[in-house]
Symmetry: C2
Subunit: 185 residues, 2 copies
């Protein structure tokens, strides 16, 4: 029943947002008695933090990619996989990590800490690929990989937000050109 | 009384978010009777859309800057003015336009349309400065100013979100290096 609640929470928080999604919404959607919720979770906040972690762990970003890709090719393929997810939702929902950060970072320390961890982990992966691309001669040595890697993730989150607002993939297309043709060279 | 409600709504929606901020919260904070709200506004949504427009119109972005600056210098100065605002709030709140887009774009057409307009208008200003910087020889001609200008704004929104999550100005500092030293050159 705990697992059922977490899986439902990922979907419902992603679709509705934190404040607009109540414990009642989640237990109803999960088909479990509301009374059982607090046997498993201290609060809606605690569940939301767990749901963010689950969303990040399950993200398409972590799927296998063609092992023959260069480091820069892999970075592009990983973002392309994320773009496909955003497009499949018709540019609704956005990124749950970004949404939760936007909505709850000022109001819940446990959610803020989890969002931060997820973004840190994701940044580490991006930075490693940029460093490998530098070692392979695909990206100029003089770029600060840590700084640019962190910036690239922030840009992605901003582009996903803009896509949610304009309801087209154009901001994501712009991201690919600006990052892979103009910035990482 | 209408003006008092709009001004209070800008502050309260910015601080609390859309779903977490009720009509009751706003009328109490504005010191006006709750009953009077619907004499002035059709709904919380309608007020939120108006508040987003007001926030954008009043943004520090539109303040005068040193007229002797080059176009690229002006672009940097305008973002620096926004950074000062974000820092003055100790990296809480974030950008109200981004927040509202994140939270309400899927759920309110009137808010989505206003957020889109505000981002479009802001993009137009950024693009014009990049084009002027190209004309002045400060930025390479081969950059697509419209595409990069839109990307720069998305990156800014992403950086402000990250700053809200990490509660430091580092993502904003990274934005300045990546955009002004690495991208616009």
């Amino acid at each position: 029943m705990r697992e059922q609640i977490v899986e439902t929470a990922v979907v419902e928080f992603h679709r509705r947002g934190f404040a607009a999604c109540s414990v009642d919404t989640i237990t109803k959607a999960a088909g479990v008695p509301k009374g059982s919720f607090y046997n498993h979770f201290k609060s809606k906040e605690a569940l939301a933090a767990e749901a963010v972690g689950r969303y990040a762990a399950d993200a398409e970003w972590n799927s296998p990619v063609d092992p023959d890709l260069t480091p820069l090719g892999e970075l592009r393929a990983r973002f392309a996989a994320m773009r496909d997810v955003v497009a499949a939702y018709d540019y609704t929902r956005g990124c749950m990590i970004g949404n939760m950060g936007e909505e709850a970072a000022d109001h819940s320390e446990v959610i803020r800490a989890t969002v931060r961890e997820c973004l840190d982990g994701w940044t580490t992966g991006i930075v490693a690929l940029i460093q490998a691309a530098q070692a392979a001669g695909e990206v100029a040595q003089e770029l600060n990989a840590e700084l640019v890697g962190s910036f690239v993730l922030d840009s992605w989150e901003g582009a996903v937000l803009r896509a949610k607002v304009v309801k087209t993939g154009r901001p994501l297309d712009d991201f690919f050109v600006a990052v892979f043709d103009n910035l990482l060279r």
